[in-house]
Subunit: 446 residues, 4 copies
């Protein structure tokens, strides 16, 4: 079934090629398609394009379909083009001609855009929640190990004293900034495109402000041409924001892969979290973090993929936009999986408490020595030269390994409370409650 | 002069290679390096690492150097490694040993990070201001041409009626979302890294909260390991945000290049804004918008470049980060140039007021016809089929070209006021005044 | 079943995460895994690590498994980690302990690398063949329409006379260069990694030259560390080569989408190859070429994705490499699909033979006019100015629309024969016969 | 001076914006512009568009200009648009009206394309030569250190015995494949575009085969539309090939940065090749290889940048292509610099000959143990289990550290001769002599 049949048959080959993986992708949007329709029909009634009875009939049946979708009892039939057509088909089959009325005042262009935005909102809610769990674990580990020292590196060279307290919390603070970027992406997404139709609006007296409220959007994408342009753009901006979380995970995983190797030996995964080699009987590999790293890097390439698909296309819908869904929609669950497995594995990591006893780290404290001289009144440059000369002439005394860092964010003063406070503020700004309430109201039976 | 000389000479060849374009890049940061030092010495005094007299002497001389920089009377000497060393050298030359004290409690790592963040803040301020000028022009043109109709396209195919009112304003609304993303990038950047030293803090009792206030930052990058990790990350997130503005420009330019060609003929650039061909005497090419498109696309590849440089590097500083500056720092002025020239050229564009008279656009109004049937009581699907059959059998009447779109954001109800209001809100959130006031205070003579 | 079980159980959660889509990907390599094993056991026998009887038993069973794979009667069981383990398991189940011997002298690292290279070789063979079919169609259409004129554009502006003869053949010649790049990628891939084991070789006296010959490779990846480094690198280089074909398709599709729109109207797809709109009854969209464009652009982002995953990783295997398979392996069939559907659709395209009659193209011939003046003895610059002034003052005579281009590769002298000859030479260089013969021999029953 | 002045002035602002960095880029092509003109005028004479005297006058003056360029005594004047105009201007100034005749039969489109291709050929010649020097150094170091053992890693975990012989040579063999890809890029570039004019050919009876021979091209880009399409495409394919060399350098640098850190301590750079820290007096950082890594990764992003600029543009010249030059043209020298500095630094690296004595590498030889059991008759799987159990129960005997690898490409049989032979074959295929001879002949005074 096609919504646009007009007396000739599309070639089977073309149909296969153009539908592609779309049925599969559309299933992920089914729930949101129905929710969008619930708002749309309520608005249609408000402008008298549906009677109260028609609205009631449609709403009742849509709620049944929604229930079927949530129970996984819904599919897009073989000869049906997409989820929008499938829902319209089910309605018409079950309640007759009134089903044909739900497409008034919209096009599949704004409908899929709406579905996509509702899908993104929903997935971002999950991403934020799981990121918060990981954040909590990181802060917890930072506090637990705040007194365990480790070497800090610059240029991959032993540099200055650091601590596991700093190391675990740094990823937590990183997530604060990542969610700040994601919150902007959420805000940009959370604007109502419905009513833009094919990107040029409609001659029906639609009430777009009403659907905006019903669906819990912050505001509208006003200009209908711009609303359509949001397709591809929203995905790109969201993908960019997801790449920040992904890069936090990737860099943390890179550290863990190094720190668990025999040359560093800073951390250890329990055997149950490692995998082996088919030929080397001694191997216990940290595959889990290698894969978190790789999947995160893959995800980080997504915004570039979207850009390559969309750039230099003129304004107005192009079918190209469909292809973005194939990589974009599964990306959320892939990221969530990486966040969850990282959280799961981090909780089981053990740290080496005796690292700094090794002689290879003996120069770590040379800056402390310089600073002591400065505190005694030397200028920084002169103190630096003095210690440097001692090191070059092998007259440096390594015995003093005490570290006394007191300023904000240092080994002795992690400021994890301040970081937790920042995270709280960022998450509040998403204001997920508003959306949740709106959707709950929309699903309420009459 | 190197801050780290220690008794052996670095190979000339290595020095040339490692310094690279850094002196050139550093010049762009000179002003911010001095501003950062002004805040740093005030803090050093507050913790008694400088006496009041030392602070006064240093401040006076730093203000002189700042003045020289602003008058373009400053250079990084040939044998000096970077801007930080140059400033320290000038101080020591002019006021003696006290100059050597300004490096206490910081490393070049947090110093350059600070400079970079101050540079970014400054450039973002410019980007926002120029974007707002372009926005104003677009809204103005939208209002001016709100009654001039043009065809709307989907799939590059004639679709539905549109208008220049819609077309000009869609780019304006696009800029609202672009600046929303940029505001998040600004917020992420606008956190104080000073005091993180080489990424592992310092044994001096630094007061990082004080420098945060002095420099007008929103807050600190608390965790010192994370503060260092901001290098590369801030650039990536800012580059991603700039790419959104760039993609708005690129897509608009693509439209203009199409719309000024002989097949569309929707718009015209005055001759003075076109360029010619070396062999075709009739050519008047819209090179300006081709170059805006290309430069914008180039800029859109920047975040991927940064990602390729930084990904899979462990935490802690790596010299790789230096290379990011070469593409990142000039990107702002390139974008600003594109914004300005677009603004300049758009103001001189003339639009064709008689487009729809051409027969090729006759099907534009078929949806209006469907909708009319719906308003008369038909279901949407049945109305669609009826009109479709008329078209296929050549019985469709094209004479009715009236368009009556009234909903929010449509041809007849552009909602430009609402879009302007959104823009106002976004710009307010940057809160540029706070930074400006802080910097002004910092520059005040004692 | 895991090849590396060692007394503790891997967490289920870790197992699910680390296996990921690997079973699915591995199925595509099953055939090649068995072929690789056929060569490996023959070599093992030659160095007396297998007796003749053991070799015979193993070969017989491997051929049976190969047959099952080709009949789609093969699967990777739920608790089996990968295709290598599955084949080893089947052998052991069916022929007992001798099955356990096939892993001597190799690791899964070189085994999967081998499988991947055999897979790539096979898929490239297909890509070349389908590209050649498209090439033939393009040359055919070029000859068929060689006298139909069309405007040539520069800067999207009407420039000079062109022809469909030129337009169709340009994509054909483009494919010649694309296959030249692909041939280099093929050559780089077509080197034997077997025997590199985990990337550091083996203490068995392997005969790598023998497996090189048996599998039809051009030569070996000699250095075992480099052989392992080929993973990720081969995929990147192949992906880069595929992107060239993809970009040829994308650009051609972009032209077709423009040329079939109402403003150009140079070409027409039959109705059966178009798709419709859910609200505009008149729409007949060229979705097929929009999707070829988008899929080609997506594929063009693949090498960057691979780069982001692999860059800054040290030498030696990392599990990250597994993730490359997920995008890389399906890319071939996606490209092949685009090539085939383009070929299918191009054959049905009709071209407009009366384009140049339209007044909008009247300046097309201005260069001809300049050239005529040059042939009469004027200097080029003076002739250019003369014609330019006539155009500016509206004194230019448009009536002469004759074109007489005779040089190589011009409208009047397409040189399609030369282009066909170049294509023939490129394809011969792949030397597919050699591989085919080797594989056929290897499959021969004893 | 503009070649296309037609009675109105281009806005100064537009001129500044559109010229951009083009004068700077064009200087790099000046030499090749003159060489191209030498071939072009000889061809013009052959078809009687120039007399012998005119040809002689022009040739003599072009050779003088060429000489000036090579002596750095050439500049593009402020009001001159590009190098082509500058050369034409000089000619006209010095030898009068005959100078105006050199533009007959070409456009700046094919002229710049030709210049770019000659530039690419020239730079590739350099890249190959410097790559060969690095290759020689690597082979030399491999032979020198072939008996020094080091651990081999997989998953960043200690895996199996490796050697510096393997490690140095692996990068050499990598360069063989890199140059194979570069040779394809060279071949694709090395086709003559001259005569395609603005991409649609010319009405002059040009002899393109003659210029092909004069300039030493392998063949022509026949189809003139395709010839123009080579712009952007050649750059992309060359950039992809350069990225392979770059990735070899980046990965090698990553290894060196790890191997010179205190946790690995496999290698050491002399102090003169390291740089220091502004606060840590003990630091000796391997900045040179960090910068090689970063610059190589930056270069690896270039093909994606080119793709973003060019994708979805229709066939025919667009001004966008100009922007590619800004990143593309300097990329060669940046890569060459990285190759040279790597070569310079590698020669001075010293290796640690006692690595394996450290206890952390004790499991390295477990596979040898398994293989020994296999050679005694056990199946591989059973032997693997036996050794694995010994390790888990701490009963494994580590004392045997002998390694006896004999197969092709292994520790004991590096096959560096075969790798050198492969390199020789690849370089021969470039056939640089042919081009060199042609250019020399072209420059010969009459």
């Amino acid at each position: 079934m096609k919504l646009w049949t007009k007396g000739f048959e599309t070639s089977k080959e073309i149909e296969r090629f153009t539908v592609g993986k779309d049925r599969e992708m559309d299933l992920m949007m089914a729930k949101f398609d129905v929710i969008g329709s619930l708002a749309h029909i309520k608005m249609l009634q408000s402008i008298d394009l549906l009677t109260s009875e028609e609205h009631e009939t449609l709403k009742k049946e849509l709620l049944i379909i929604l229930d079927e979708i949530e129970k996984d009892d819904f599919q897009i039939e073989d000869n049906v083009e997409d989820v929008h057509s499938q829902v319209e088909l089910l309605l018409t089959r079950r309640i007759g001609d009134v089903g044909k009325k739900i497409h008034s005042g919209r096009s599949r262009n704004d409908q899929v855009l709406l579905d996509l935005k509702l899908f993104i909102r929903d997935k971002i809610t999950d991403v934020v929640q799981i990121s918060k769990s990981l954040f909590d674990t990181l802060i917890e580990l930072s506090e637990k190990y705040k007194d365990v020292m480790m070497p800090g590196y610059t240029h991959y060279q032993v540099a200055m004293p650091s601590s596991f307290g700093l190391w675990f919390a740094c990823w937590a603070e990183s997530l604060v900034d990542d969610l700040t970027q994601l919150e902007a992406a959420y805000k940009i997404t959370n604007k109502n495109p419905l009513g833009s139709a094919a990107g040029y609006g409609s001659s029906f007296p639609l009430n777009r402000t009403l659907t905006t409220e019903l669906l819990g959007f912050d505001t509208l994408n006003y200009n209908v041409v711009y609303a359509q342009m949001g397709r591809g753009k929203a995905e790109r901006i969201v993908a960019q924001a997801l790449s920040s979380i992904a890069q936090t995970l990737a860099k943390m995983s890179q550290d863990i892969c190094l720190f668990t190797n025999q040359n560093y030996d800073f951390m250890k995964l329990p055997d149950e979290l490692t995998t082996g080699s088919s030929i080397m009987p001694h191997k216990k590999n940290p595959d889990v973090f290698e894969l978190v790293r790789a999947k995160s890097n893959k995800l980080s390439s997504l915004s570039n993929e979207i850009m390559l698909i969309t750039t230099n296309l003129s304004s107005g819908y192009h079918r190209d936009l469909q292809i973005i869904k194939e990589s974009f929609m599964p990306a959320f669950d892939e990221l969530i999986d990486c966040l969850q497995i990282s959280n799961y594995a981090l909780k089981q990591i053990s740290v080496n408490k005796e690292i700094l006893n090794d002689d290879r780290y003996k120069y770590l404290f040379s800056v402390e020595e310089v600073n002591n001289l400065v505190l005694e009144g030397k200028s920084f440059r002169d103190a630096y030269r003095e210690v440097g000369e001692k090191i070059e002439s092998n007259n440096y005394d390594f015995s003093n390994k005490s570290v006394n860092h007191t300023h904000e964010g240092s080994i002795g003063n992690l400021c994890n409370d301040e970081i937790m406070h920042q995270m709280k503020l960022v998450i509040e700004k998403f204001n997920f409650d508003k959306v949740e309430t709106a959707i709950r109201n929309l699903k309420n039976p009459l």
